[in-house]
Amino acid sequence: MPDGLLPGVRVLDVGQGISGPYCAKILAQMGAEVIKVEPPEGDSARRMGPFPGDSPHPEKSGLFLATNANKQGITLDLSSSDGAAAFRKLAAGADIVIENPPPDALEGHGLGYESLKNTNPGLVFTSITPFGNRGPYKDFKATDLVLYHMSGHAHGMLGAVKDPDSDPPIRAGGHQAELVGGMAAATATLMALYRKRMTGQGSRIDISSFEAMVTQLISGLANSAYGRPAPPRDLAKVEEAAIGGMVGAIGGILLCNDGYVAISPREDAQWERWLQVMGGPPWATDERYATRDARQRNSPSLWKLLSDWSINHSKHEIARMGQEQRVPCFPVNTVQDLLSDEHLAHRGFFVEMEHPVAGVLRYPGAAYRFSNSQLPLTERPAPMLGEHNREILDSLA
């Protein structure tokens, strides 16, 4: 059995939804022993899709299954004295407790950090909330949508804005802000755990998911600190590419006969090789496209020429021809493409697990491989509600 990087590290995951459980999922796939503590009615993520046939079922939520793999699960009513006592016993032997209130703050049950550290001074206690425990918004409610927009990310998603007055800034799919909050929490928690190993000191870590999202845009914040204006969000109005922006001569997407391909032949040498991919078109020597600056100035007419060519090819064909010439380009993939991608298959990125109710599914694995440690990515599927109650709670008695 692979034991990962954190064998013997005990984690109590009291979180619900995404940010807290995702933090604990990271620790579980690194090899920590994670016990998920759910209220009797279950984690709210059990009520979030996708579900097979779009029919809600507490053991079949794709989101829950992915976010809680490799954890054990118990149910506790923390508002009851028995439940609180059991939690207190578990916390006394834990290295890490993770919560993401509301709705259920440990503090409200007399189980906050100050209380738990009396019996466990080395405890690392991590609390994730939308805005942290500080500042004027500390009690505000936010969701993934709200955090993505407030933090500036939606204005940076350059889309085909038709009418700026009726096309709002746009969010990313999935639950990116919740994940970033959870990853920030895992990062700080692992650093605090290291400090505990070195010094014996515990920590209470406070995470603001809003600040975690904002911290993804520190280059933009630095631009603001130097008095630069915010870039426009209408793709057509962007003159100079911000870092990461695919505009003008930097790059963009081309319509193919089966979808899109994303290309970025931004350097002159890359551009020369891209022209070879296109078979040396007659306009290649046109001075309007001879230099990067010229291509930037004339990018609308240039992209028209590129699209007239790309529409006759498939996205994978163009990506393959481009990469053969060392041109940065990739197909615009759907999740269907991903599941059959030969590169990801070769690296064993997707992992398969069988869940007693939800059945056999392939889950995205980890982005990292360690030379000296195997990660326990398929140790167990997400726990059924109360699955390990007997095993874990009986051992406390």
Binding site: P50, L63, D165, I205, L221, A242, P328, E342, Y363, P364
Partner: protein, 390 residues
């Protein structure tokens, strides 16, 4: 006074541009001594402009031309006294420079070596030329983002900052492992896989329902109303997410539309979802009467999750960040006093993060080569002249 968590850890930072420097910024701010190594021969492209000030806070910066034999020998000496080495060149480049893991671990057997590339260091596409913005397309990340039934969105600076934080997280995990076992690691990191791992809903939806997920704009599969609504003023918007029936009733009361709250048609999320075009129009009538921050305050007082959709300059001036102490005023190299960003976490009652201005190339040569490695000053001077320390 307690020490920061990574006190005593030394990181040799061979990385550049965004992802690697972002990772080492986190490590440096949490107490590691980060030595960024670069060369005037091939400057870090992010050296230009204000972004460098953010990405390279809290680090030391030594110059070294590792493409020379003496430079390569010197970098091995630095590795020998480091705990972590990080690089984010294209796959295969670090090996061609003569600094593959087999070499690095000879210099320091328990080294933790992080290697991050676009598509990882194995597999048929490991040599693909990649940028973060392209990987957002390759990984399916952009396929579920954007306006419904329009061409895919481009951009959004996402891949590199995400990977930067994840690399810092992975480093912390490996340091914990080393603390117990004494073992180092080589970490093969794929930026593409980091993004594909962040869209499990769509990947499982496809397997469960055979459905290829399309962008929903600002809407949600389940919750409604769920959108971004025009406020008073040009390009001013507020995001509102109603996640329960109670929040729906509160929203109706705030908009003085008790008729909607009482209408059984909208009594559950499914009913509200079926009529969201209509409800969105009703909500816009209300939001258009308010400034975006005022709308947020009113909505939050009513218990409805909400907040303005802001550009980066408004984020920079956001009262929440200002009052929560997120920024630190720093003297920058050549740039005067600037408010620069901090960290998204606090150790309550613990040490403050270590945040300094970004260095300039070669600023810490004397410390690194003379104090740390103990080279004689004359020898360092010679290597400067010979364009090895360069």
């Amino acid at each position: 006074m307690s020490e920061l968590p990574l006190h005593g850890i030394r990181v040799l930072d061979l990385s550049w541009i965004i992802a690697g420097p972002t990772a080492t910024r986190f490590l440096a701010s949490m107490g590691a001594e980060v030595i960024k190594v670069g060369s005037a021969r091939r400057p870090d492209p992010s050296t230009r402009g204000p972004a460098f000030q953010a990405y390279n806070q809290s680090k030391l910066y030594a110059s070294l031309n590792i493409s020379t034999p003496e430079g390569l020998a010197l970098v091995k000496q630095l590795i020998a006294v480091s705990d972590v080495v990080i690089e984010n060149f294209a796959a295969g480049v670090i090996e061609r420079l003569g600094l593959g893991y087999d070499v690095v671990r000879v210099a320091r057997p328990d080294i933790i070596m992080l290697a991050s590339s676009g598509t990882g260091h194995s597999g048929p596409h490991k040599d693909h030329v990649a940028y973060g913005s392209l990987l957002q397309h390759y990984t399916g990340w952009n396929s579920i983002s954007g306006y419904p039934e329009r061409e895919p969105v481009t951009g959004g600076l996402w891949a590199d900052p995400w990977v930067g934080m994840e690399l810092a997280m992975v480093t912390a995990a490996a340091l914990n492992h080393r603390a117990v076992t004494g073992q180092g690691q080589y970490v093969d990191f794929s930026m593409a896989e980091a993004l594909s791992a962040s869209i499990p809903e769509a990947i499982l939806d496809y397997q469960m329902n055979g459905r290829v997920k399309e962008p929903l704009g600002n809407r949600d599969d389940w919750y409604a109303p769920h959108g971004v609504y025009h406020c008073a003023g040009a390009d001013r918007w507020v995001a509102i997410a109603v996640t329960s029936d109670a929040e729906w009733v509160s929203l109706c009361q705030l908009m003085q539309r008790p008729d909607l709250a009482a209408d059984s048609l909208y009594g559950g999320a499914a009913g509200r979802r079926d009529h969201q075009d209509h409800l969105d129009a009703v909500i816009t009538e209300w939001t258009m009467q308010h400034e975006d921050h005022v709308a947020m305050q009113l909505l939050q007082q009513a218990g409805v999750p909400s907040g303005p959709s802001q550009d980066i300059l408004r984020v920079f001036n956001e009262p929440q960040l200002r009052e929560a102490g997120y920024f630190t005023e720093l003297h920058t190299n050549g740039g005067g006093l600037r408010d620069l960003p901090g960290l998204p976490w606090r150790l309550d009652g613990g040490p403050e993060p270590y945040l300094t201005e970004a260095p300039v190339l070669g600023q810490h040569n004397a410390y690194v080569y003379q104090e740390m490695l103990g080279l004689p000053a004359l020898e360092v001077d010679r290597m400067i002249v010979d364009q090895i320390i360069y």
